[in-house]
Subunit: 333 residues, 2 copies
């Protein structure tokens, strides 16, 4: 075993005291030039690495911010994660990730683990713990919720307006001339799924149409469920000329189901997805979809945390969605 070099060792080597070493390390107080150089040299020579634990213990700051992810669903979450990473990489803070797997129990444990590790802030991406439980877990640490809409915590919530997004996606199909529009919803326990469905219905109603339950299939955000949804839809015998899927994975699955049946996209049916995941541009035909600025949202979340830590007044930005038109939709004459 290698003996670890401590602040003490380098103090001896540089003929100064521990305090001085600490000072050059943190730049908290000016230190005489030559001493500083000596210290830095010693650190280099002995290959000194400050012990993050000791620091955290003594200083009260862990310089880490905890991120709780949910690995199910759409690549949207991955992108948010990337945003967090990149925003933090320029700072002294490191992210530490724990996965909640869309399971309340696991999620709670994940948060506890993070708190035990003394994270200085928390970013929760997705998740479905009730607000009350969250409050007790968080312990009043800085926090930002991504893709959530917690009552009483609006200031800390970062998400696009999914109702609006669903509305616009449907509206888009309506404007292309479609009248019989099906929807493949996500898991109805997720706020995203609920709101997108709501937007879908709203658009239909506004166009003077009545949402037909027979044109609604519930999936679970997986590709496979998209296949099943289309098969179910087809089996019901109610005709439709377009589909709005609550995420790209399911849109993907839907497209495959049509392929299997010999139904052409977009000649026979149009598809619009959600998330603009990278692969959607490479499907055949390329998938039209609704894009959320996921990376930016992750970065914004990280910045929000940093500002809270700094005690600054902060406000999370608003993010608009955007429809990315590709060949999977076509006007139907």
């Amino acid at each position: 075993m290698k003996k670890k070099v401590t602040i003490q060792d380098i103090a001896r080597k540089a003929n100064v005291s521990k305090s001085t070493v600490s000072r050059v390390l943190n730049k908290t107080t000016p230190v005489e030039e030559n001493k500083r150089v000596a210290v830095e040299a010693a650190m280099k020579q002995l290959n000194y690495r400050p012990n993050a634990f000791a620091r955290g213990l003594a200083g009260g700051q862990s310089m880490t911010i905890g991120v709780v992810t949910q690995n199910i669903g759409s690549p949207f979450y991955d992108a948010v994660t990337q945003g967090v990473i990149s925003a933090l990489s320029a700072t002294e803070y490191s992210p530490i990730f724990v996965d909640g797997q869309w399971n309340r129990g696991i999620e709670a444990t994940a948060i506890r683990t993070l708190i035990n590790r003394q994270v200085d802030g928390l970013i929760l991406i997705g998740g479905n713990l009730p607000a009350a439980e969250l409050v007790t877990l968080i312990e009043s640490k800085p926090v930002v919720f991504v893709a959530q809409r917690l009552a009483g915590w609006e200031k800390c919530c970062l998400s696009v307006d999914n109702v609006e997004a669903g509305f616009r996606a449907t509206q888009f199909l309506l404007e292309l001339g479609h009248r019989e529009i099906a929807h493949i919803a996500g898991i109805m326990e997720h706020i995203d799924a609920i709101e997108r469905l709501e937007g879908y219905r709203k658009a239909l109603r506004q166009a003077g149409l009545t949402p037909d339950p027979k044109l609604l299939a519930e999936g679970n955000f997986s590709s496979q469920s998209g296949v099943l949804a289309v098969e179910s839809l087809l089996a019901r015998g109610v005709p439709f000329s377009a589909i709005f899927a609550a995420n790209d994975e399911m849109a993907c699955g839907a497209r495959l189901a049509f392929y299997r049946r010999g139904i052409r996209v977009p000649e026979d049916v149009s598809i619009i997805g959600f998330d603009n995941q990278p692969a959607s541009a490479f499907m055949t035909p390329p998938l039209t979809t609704v894009a959320q600025p996921s990376r930016e949202m992750g970065a914004a979340a990280a910045r929000g945390i940093l500002q809270q830590i700094a005690g600054e007044d902060f406000q999370l930005p608003n993010f608009p969605v955007q429809i990315v038109v590709r060949e999977s939709v076509i006007r139907r004459w």
Copy 2:
């Protein structure tokens, strides 16, 4: 600010000493039943959470294992990560992730960050730091390299035989009757890409064919590069009836390029990818691909670390690849 409750507080409340509390906490030494109960009750009441930093400082163990990922390339890496998470979730250890982005500098920094955080072990997924540098960084901590093949560190390397995999993929196409087989390689700095290409050539030679440089295109593992590769291949005017892409993303891009040109898959050209990423089953047509047991590899890596920490003798298992046949290949008569 909430005052933190410490081991001392609960010791007072339970009328025992700090040590006893520590003992029930870690179950290191039997403690009298009634005292134990009292302590546990006190912990519950005061909502006690042990401070991981203090623990780490005092005990020398951080109970975290660091994972360095590279977010570029194929979803293979994501799956490995999942495997690590799941294998570790049953233990007292938590993974902490840092991203190296396939950049030597960033990767080195990532490893240093992890070391500073006193991780008890390291899992490096991908990456391309030279062995020499790695050695000094690691500081003789337990380590497992996934998808690497470091000379002198064979015992700690976990990867499939990519030469063999490339060989079999090509062989598979040969057996279908193809003779003019193109290859879209990955970034030639990555060992995976190099080995897969080598396997491809080996198979051709063994079949009595000479690898034609005009049938080789270099991509960068991204979908987009798959598109470009096919366009480049087509522009060269050398006919081919099948393509082996070094990962599914590029295979995806290739498929799109053919679609754009009106070239049918698999009627006109067959495609085989690599990684068996989930989406590959949902392409049109579903993609034939080479599967690595990625989750299992991640889990095995985690177990390897744990065994090293425990000082046990360990040996990383061998993982075979497997060809998953789907509709994107067809015999050519």
